[in-house]
């Protein structure tokens, strides 16, 4: 049974008023906010010393988990593998792909001390791009987002507007993707709209 029509994205209910207000920025918007919709989001945990784990992941996904802090393998396309911790990665796939990949991973890790958890519905993904994206994020985030420090292909967990997020700079534009826990998604969206007010923030609906 195809359930596509029954899915409810965490940002489907954003009140229209916020959209209109933000739209006033018109065409010269210096920043754009987007709901990036559903993605596969799979949490992988395994030992950094476990070579077979790395091999298996790269066999199935084509990506080798990074051992380097805050570095993304893959991207801007899919799948991407975000470093979250020394033994933890987030695999981001196209929504349709996640089931297959999940199955592949689970099967190949049978009997190994590896954890693979499908957490696709745990996070909404919000895109922020445009010239003022950095300034907007800086209002609620203590990371140094300067391009000398955090660049495309960087990702980390951090706090944004008092909410824990996974922040990923996808391209140099800059284009950021924010993975935010579903329950906080509307709050964070409204926070971003508010923060973008002075930059003529524009909301785009997919």
């Amino acid at each position: 049974m195809d359930n596509g029509y029954m899915r409810q994205g965490p940002l489907d209910y954003i009140p229209i008023s916020a959209e209109l207000e933000a739209d006033q920025g018109g065409n010269d918007a210096t920043v754009v906010l987007e709901d990036r919709g559903f993605r596969g989001q799979i949490v992988l945990q395994g030992k950094a010393s476990d070579a077979e784990f790395f091999d298996a992941v790269s066999d199935i996904t084509g990506l080798r988990p990074s051992k380097e802090t805050n570095v993304v393998t893959g991207g801007p396309g899919f799948p991407r593998l975000l470093w979250l911790g020394p033994e933890e990665w987030l695999l981001v796939t196209e929504d349709e792909e996640s089931g297959r990949i999940m199955l592949g991973l689970t099967n190949s890790f049978k009997g190994r001390h590896v954890q693979v958890v499908d957490n696709s519905d745990a996070y909404a993904i919000v895109g922020v791009r445009g010239a003022s994206a950095r300034d907007i994020l800086a209002k609620g985030c203590t990371l140094d987002l300067h391009e000398r420090v955090f660049r495309s292909g960087s990702s980390t967990r951090t706090l944004l507007g008092q909410v824990q997020v996974i922040l990923h700079q996808v391209t140099d534009d800059p284009d950021y993707e924010i993975h935010v826990h579903r329950s906080f998604a509307e709050f964070l969206w409204e926070w971003l709209v508010d923060a973008g007010q002075e930059y003529g923030l524009k909301t785009v609906r997919p």
Binding site: Y13, D121, A122, T142, F187
Partner: protein, 1000 residues
């Protein structure tokens, strides 16, 4: 409207082509773009701006900047009003409205000044010595004291403005855009480093803005313009004018506030009014300049007495010269500049110098310009109550004795006692200060953090050396961070003066009546602390700087003693007969100047105060008209009123349906953790009080978690998904805590255990079906889960599809009735919920909220962690000692074996059967075994949960009562405000004690 009587025809940095109108104390005036409120008022000849804090003496403008103690005003009205602003820092805008504060009925005629007449009875700390008897009168005295105290008024309406804050990082933060800061910024900027240059003033230039200095052979301000222009071109340099760095915290974290639109006045600008900056700097260059030190003499607080540099600034920068005759009073060379400036404007100037006559460039220049110089003398007092009319002058030799008094008339007295480096931020950062005996001031000694000081802030007062120091440090600091660039050659300022004379350390000038200084020798102009007050404090034993400060309030005003503290401690050191360094100084604390609350709060107000969490089904609840309650950050449906139902009606209906047919609850807020690894079961054994090895795959078990202190911390059902996989649920409130708790133990104590955790709280929505018809309903929604009792018994879980969606269904119950917890990926939550509602229509399915949930579980005597427990409750207290495994260790186990936790008379969970079944005891009520007429009464416990049970048609209550389990059947009392409730202690399970309904 009055014309600007004291405005000079040309000169200054004001724009005469842009006149501005404003009102002060309801009178209209005119000023120009570029003015401050202070300069505009002075241009209009307004002398009295405020009244002093305690004696309500008339006060005028004393300085031209952040150090202003006197000229405080109330700016604007209504919701835009702001109290206590310094007129010297308010940029004039069109339509500005300001008023004097702390005076009644007006600043010119202030009845409160009568206090001044009794001033003698009210020395420092007088309130500690009186108003003690009779006790009853103190509140009345206090009311009068409170009315008299305080300065401006708070707005009476909410703030219409918006404030922002922003985080930033830089390699080098430069504080202060005077010559030192600018030349440092230029070098640092050229190196390619990320530089921020902040200055609290509206334009860069610092002291140069008010001087007539030259740099590179031209006006210094041309150099400023050129330098700022170059800096603006640099991609990695950020210029922040109108930005005060107000705090220097740990690890080179500095905070600043930028006045974004304040200078535009009241407007609807979409920009924020102010923006607070949180800056993490790798290195700081402090170029914050210096503050001029006043002299202390009798009646030195009169309007018309002003810091010499301020007088020059008003003339040079604002083109204001509000005097016909000026007296300059100094103990150093610097004030000769002021004399010369006024002379240049053709004003009569006399200069009183406490130093013996000397021959040098300065006196020579001054004399040549026609300044009358009176050496070896001091101003001993002023004349004119409302504005200086003249000064008394006496010879004041090395012996400290006063000679004959003579009188000089004047309408401006410019005083200079030398300079104090602005070391506030340096000291805040943890740097120590030392007393420079040559320059007679406190200068930076040893840095506590990565901060470098240049220019006047370091005691380098000559422009040429400021430029040099700035450039040198700018380049050096950048280089140390591995930034090396090339740039222009250093700028130069020729000021070679011959025979400059050091400052003479005289600041306190006696008067004939008060040879040591008296009650009209003001040290702190804002808090009205006088030399007499300091002497009194010392006499009474409050003679450490800190006691002095607190007893007299020296330096405790809104200016934090920027012009007062040094004089205060030097007077104290005189009294104590000790050197200034051994007397020490009080602590510099943030903020450097006061900071608007709004700016500190930023957007963390209103809906953004704290994040709000919504469940995946939230918007269905909203549409269903649910009333929500806050549970931590979550919004949870509390009850769902239908038509005009009140809470009671709704809860009764919801409870009945759940027991009679079927209720549906959004339980998505439950914490959920995936636990995996070969050691997962062993790990759970340590975490929970009960044992987990023998739990079969497919089964669930209730677990109780303790802190290491043996107290109940969380509970929940954990299910075995596979040999090495568990799915743990936690309480809503405990979700984050429990997840961190597990991670902590794994990472810190048992790293060898092979267990991984992932929080999946947000991935799964949880829909709970409750009631006898829930099996039937679920049966209609699934075809791959066998729901019959045998194949799906209580405390097991099954995987399958519900409403076409992959689901995990748990047969657990928090109500005592047949119940299924359906977990589905969050994206399908609303569709599955809707499917349940639709299919359940024929069973009159009823959504119920947290209140009904509480009633249902309380009927069964089920506990809620955080309600039945409060961090002091053990499993035994809850009657759960049987759960405690005896075969293994677990967290908290040892604590249960302590004397106190073994006692038999601990408070234990019981039920309360009220005498009148309709009485619902308020939750929290305390219980006594015997009542007395009046307190104190011995309390034996309290009510943890209490509701009206529609199913039992009576109230149910849970309580923790001393030795409660042995007291079933005993009568206890709950004394309330209006009468006493009587109840019998009973078993806490009120409903279906046999547990027959669990299986439907």
């Amino acid at each position: 409207m009055k014309r600007q009587r004291y405005r000079m025809p040309d000169g200054g940095r004001i724009d005469r082509s842009q006149p501005l109108h404003f009102t002060f104390n309801d009178r209209s005036y005119q000023g120009y773009v570029g003015d401050t409120l202070a300069s505009a008022l002075l241009a209009n000849g307004v002398a009295i701006i405020g009244r002093s804090f305690k004696y309500h003496r008339p006060r005028g403008v004393f300085s031209a900047g952040a150090e202003e103690p006197n000229a405080l005003v109330q700016l604007e009205q209504g919701s835009h009003t702001q109290p206590n602003l310094r007129a010297t820092q308010i940029e004039l805008y069109s339509g500005l409205k300001a008023e004097s504060i702390n005076c009644w009925p007006s600043v010119d005629f202030d009845l409160w000044s009568l206090i001044g007449l009794f001033g003698r009875i009210f020395p420092a700390g007088f309130y500690y010595k009186t108003f003690m008897t009779p006790n009853l009168l103190w509140p009345i005295y206090e009311r009068i004291i409170r009315q008299a105290a305080g300065l401006g008024r708070a707005p009476s309406d909410p703030d219409p403005d918006r404030y922002e804050n922003i985080n930033t990082h830089c390699d080098i933060l430069i504080i202060g855009g005077g010559p030192s800061g600018l030349s440092a910024a230029l070098k640092a900027g050229q190196s390619g480093a990320r530089v921020i240059l902040a200055d609290e003033q509206n334009e860069f230039g610092g002291a140069l803005l008010g001087s007539d200095d030259e740099v590179d052979g031209g006006p210094a301000l041309d150099w400023v313009e050129k330098t700022v222009g170059e800096l603006e071109e640099m991609a990695e340099v950020r210029l922040l004018p109108r930005t005060t760095i107000f705090g220097y915290y740990n690890h080179n974290f500095l905070t600043a506030v930028e006045r974004v639109t304040d200078h535009l006045g009241v407007s609807d600008d979409p920009l924020p009014r102010q923006r607070s900056w949180r800056i993490r700097a790798r290195q700081v260059i402090l170029a914050s300049g210096a503050i001029e030190r006043p002299m202390v003499f009798e009646n030195n607080d009169r309007p018309g007495v002003m810091l010499a540099s301020a007088a020059s600034t008003y003339a040079n920068r604002y083109g204001v010269c509000f005097a016909k005759r000026v007296v300059v009073f100094t103990n150093n060379d610097e004030a000769y500049r002021t004399a010369l400036i006024f002379k240049k404007f053709g004003i009569h100037v006399s200069l009183v110098d406490v130093r013996p006559e000397f021959n040098g460039d300065w006196p020579r220049k001054a004399t040549a310009a026609g300044v009358e110089i009176i050496f070896n003398s001091a101003v001993t007092g002023t004349r004119g109550r409302r504005k200086v009319k003249g000064v008394n002058i006496s010879a004041f030799g090395m012996d400290g004795n006063l000679g004959e008094t003579r009188h000089l008339s004047c309408d401006l007295l410019a005083v200079s006692g030398g300079w104090n480096p602005t070391v506030h931020l340096y000291s805040q950062s943890g740097g120590t200060l030392t007393y420079d005996k040559q320059r007679m001031c406190l200068i930076p000694e040893k840095a506590g953090q990565a901060v470098n000081v240049v220019g006047a802030a370091k005691g380098t007062f000559e422009l040429e050396r400021c430029l040099k120091e700035g450039a040198r440090e700018g380049a050096r600091v950048a280089k140390n961070l591995d930034f090396v660039g090339s740039g222009s050659v250093r700028s130069k300022s020729k000021t070679v003066l011959e025979n400059e004379q050091p400052l003479q350390p005289k600041w306190l000038i006696p008067s004939r009546k008060h040879p040591e200084g008296g009650p009209s020798h003001f040290v702190d102009l804002q808090t009205d602390v006088t030399v007499a007050d300091i002497a009194l404090a010392a006499r009474e034993g409050y003679d450490s700087v800190e006691h002095l400060k607190r007893y007299t309030t020296l330096g405790m005003g809104t200016d934090q003693g920027k012009t007062a503290n040094i004089n205060g401690i030097s007077i104290l050191s005189g009294i104590r007969g000790e050197e200034l360094p051994s007397v020490g100084h009080t602590t510099f604390r943030p903020p450097y100047t006061p900071v608007t609350f709004g700016a500190l709060a930023g957007r963390q107000v209103g809906q953004f105060l704290d994040p709000l969490r919504r469940t995946p089904i939230h918007h269905w609840h909203t549409r269903a008209g649910a009333v929500f309650e806050n549970v931590g950050q979550w919004k949870r449906p509390w009850y769902y009123p239908v038509l005009d139902e009140d809470m009671n009606d709704a809860v009764v209906r919801e409870c009945r349906s759940a027991r009679k047919s079927i209720g549906i609850l959004d339980a998505s807020t439950l914490g959920k953790i995936e636990i995996k690894g070969p050691d997962a079961a062993d790990f759970l054994n340590l975490i929970y009080v009960n044992s987990w090895n023998n739990l079969e795959v497919g089964r669930c078990r209730y677990g109780l978690m303790l802190g290491e202190d043996g107290m109940v911390m969380d509970d929940g059902v954990t299910s075995r998904m596979a040999e090495d996989r568990f799915f743990m649920t936690t309480t809503t409130g405990g979700a984050a805590r429990v997840y961190s708790w597990l991670e902590e133990w794994l990472q810190t104590e048992w790293p060898e255990m092979e267990v991984y955790l992932t929080s999946v709280t947000e991935n799964w929505a949880t829909i709970t079906l409750v009631g006898p018809n829930s099996r039937k309903l679920l049966g209609e929604l699934t075809d791959d889960i066998n729901l019959d009792l045998k194949s799906f018994p209580f405390m097991t879980w099954r995987e399958g599809k519900v409403a076409g969606v992959p689901a995990r269904v748990f047969r657990v119950s928090f109500t005592g009735d047949l119940s299924f917890e359906i977990n589905i990926p969050a994206r399908y939550a609303i569709s599955v919920w809707t499917a349940c509602m639709t299919a359940g229509e024929k069973y009159a399915i009823t959504p119920f909220g947290t209140e009904a949930m509480h009633v249902l579980r309380a009927e069964k005597g089920y506990i809620v962690v955080g309600q039945e427990t409060d961090g002091t409750v053990t499993p035994g207290d809850l009657g759960m000692e049987r759960m405690l495994s005896k075969k293994k260790d677990f967290i908290g186990r040892r604590s249960l074996a302590r004397v106190e936790t073994l006692r038999s008379d601990r408070k234990q969970l019981v039920g309360l059967d009220t005498e009148d079944p309709s009485t619902v005891i308020p939750i929290g009520s305390q219980i006594v075994a015997t009542t007395k007429k009046r307190p104190p009464m011995d309390m034996i416990g309290y009510v943890t949960s209490s509701y009206y049970s529609p199913n039992l048609k009576r109230s149910v209550a849970l309580a923790l009562v001393k030795s409660g389990r042995n007291r079933h059947g005993e009568r206890v009392y709950l004394p309330m405000e209006n009468g006493t409730i009587s109840a019998l202690i009973c078993n806490p399970v009120f409903f279906d004690p046999e547990g027959e309904r669990l299986n439907g």
